[in-house]
Amino acid sequence: MSVGLRLTILGIGAVFFILVYGLLIKKKVSERLTLLWSFVALVAFIFVLFPRLLNRLANWADVSYPPALLFLVTILLLMLLVMYQSTQISVMDQRLREVGRAVALLRHEVTRLRNLSVLDNHLQINVNGGPTDRETEFTE
């Protein structure tokens, strides 16, 4: 690997790092996911800084073309990440439905209580033969 290529990859990695931590500061990505992305970037950094490590690993895994091993590891990491995101979406979906149900039931309860209070007001008017304090307040 030439020095120029290594520097380019290092530069891309650094930009990626800054981007992820920028998103974290803006609260657009969670701490947990930042850790995960940092781990991915760290693995990439290690291979750029120690390119022979990849050759050694490829020899050990009996892979004749070392970059193929790098692609394999990258694809596996990305698949893991996508799977994690899928689980998060499913969890969010369940929670969202629960919140939706709670909103629907609470809205129904509010309407029922509001109707009851209107009815209560009417009853008070009939019993007292005049407007209640609340009615007077509204008319004034």
Binding site: G100, A104, L105, H108
Partner: protein
Amino acid sequence: MKTLIAIPAYNESKNIADVLHALKSFRTSADILVVNDGSLDDTEAIALACGVEVVSHPCNMGYGAALQTAYQYATVNGYDEVIQFDSDGQHNVADLSVLIAASAEEQSLDVVLGSRFLGDRSFDPGSGKKQVIWFFRTVIWLLTRQRITDPTSGLRLIRRRVFSHYAGFNRFPNDFPDADVIVDVLLRRWQIREVPISNTRRLQGRSMHAGLRPLVYVFKVILSIFVVVMNVRRDGGR
């Protein structure tokens, strides 16, 4: 016995009034609840005009989610049994008395299922649906050794012990609570009985099982049954 008739409805403005009028003319002490599942048409307004209780989801969340809302409502408001009734006019109001009678007759029952195959022997749901029903009948029998003739029937009476359990978070399928729920109920050793009901076709509008959806339905329910079996084994049917 405090009974709630729960009607999940999504874009059923053409059918809901007829269904509600039929239910109201049926002499029963049961309360009626329409769960409007984020309809884009006038379903909510029509149901309110009919003088029944209406709970409206803020957006469309699925048939199962609507039923779960009804279970939560019934749990909070102290109902003893919930009768699920479709909003498309497929169910015959007269069949309610069959379900209620079966429930009153056998106090140990937890679920009463309406079966279209026990009533009218000539009932033909169509070749595709017939195969799906046969498939799920077989699956239920293999898993529970119990014979259920109509695993896709939507007309069901459910007692408090069961609906209060399914009212809990993440305990009920969101889309198609059919054979998977029956398997779950049977594996938990709750008592089910099927009673004969009649069948009519939906009055107007589009079915939620139209188009390619039956295929999705089959695979989703198979997966859901798998999840049910694994979970019941894990928690010992508690």
